[in-house]
Amino acid sequence: MSSRDQTDEKLERLVGQVLRDQPLRRAPASLEARVLGELAARARLPWWRRGIATWPPAVRVPVIGVCAVCVPLVWILSLWVATRLVSVATHPQLAGPLASLWDAGHAIASFGTITSHIIQSIPRDWLVGGIIATATLYAVLFALVAVGYSLLYRPAYSKVHLT
């Protein structure tokens, strides 16, 4: 080992010792009051202004259901609007100024038609099977990540000593 390496090693040891010997720094007296104040402020919030995970189940389940219904509803609605736009834009008096709008509406309507044709051409069993397979794969992947995290990631940090 060269003399430089020995010096660096000695410096590392001394710095480590000086730092490890440092006592914990005292937290400001205001910290506890700030945390309690923030918790109290959060507790005063109405339930609907907090995270959805804390909402009452009687509200949370219907909201999730409504959201699930809204997704296809918005899709159908946008297709309907696109079709309306096409019909309005093809009107002789409006054809000129609304040409670009007509193009956009036509493109969306075409995309929707193609998508619906593709979905309709898939046998129902395949569709249901695909949804189940996707959900299963998602669950398996989630479980693998959770196991991997607890086995590989957490132990590395749990080695940290309380100073």
């Binding site: 410096l11 590392e12 480590g16 730092l19 440092q22 006592p23 910290l31 940090y157 940290v160």
Partner: protein, 189 residues
């Protein structure tokens, strides 16, 4: 909370070098702890959990801050000037040796805290992760998104720079920097 607030605050302030930011981060840590209160209440790992969350939140805070200010720090930083003012590794070791043997605990605590706060972020953060959190070089490099070589260089230069800050006047005089170690404040009396 009282049992752990000093530990959480110390973790944050050592990494940030800024008591006000450390207090904000500590508040976030305890608010998260409150969200997991049912699991933590009786867990013997509560201290470790709080320490890990404090470290992660502080590093996230510093990463955001670093991204925001990187451009300016790269424009205005002058590493060559910094290096020119630093003592040699040998002098640095002697300064730390003097700090350990000749200073009273309270005096040493204040001096080391101040020196750590004055280190630039790119030296203080890896230095603290290495010496306080006992993270290996590679983990530090991964966590900070920098190369292994840079981590090693920054830690080494951080130790030397810290010695310079522990010397009287914060930095050793250029004439003295390659000679015998300076005696820290307080050790002179």
């Amino acid at each position: 909370m009282r049992a752990y607030q000093d530990m959480v605050f110390s973790t944050a302030v050592r990494l940030t070098g800024n008591p006000a930011q450390a207090e904000d981060i500590s508040q976030d840590v305890f608010l998260r702890a409150y969200e997991s209160f049912d699991n933590l209440r009786s867990s013997p790992k509560a201290g470790g959990w709080l320490k890990t969350v404090a470290t992660n939140l502080t590093l996230n805070h510093l990463t955001r801050h670093r991204k925001r200010w990187r451009l300016f720090s790269e424009i205005f930083s002058d590493d060559s000037r910094e290096e020119e003012l630093e003592p040699s590794a040998e002098s640095a070791a002697a300064i730390f040796d003097t700090v350990l043997t000749e200073l009273e605990t309270d005096e040493r605590r204040a001096l080391v805290e101040r020196a750590l706060e004055r280190l630039p972020d790119h030296q203080r953060i890896p230095l603290v992760l290495y010496h306080y959190e006992e993270m290996p070089y590679q983990d530090i490099a991964d966590r900070l998104g920098i190369s292994l070589a840079k981590v090693k260089t920054d830690i080494l230069r951080g130790r030397v720079a810290m010695a310079g800050l522990l010397a009287p006047g914060g930095r050793p005089a250029p004439d003295d920097r390659r000679q015998s170690p300076s005696i820290p404040r307080g050790a002179q009396s």
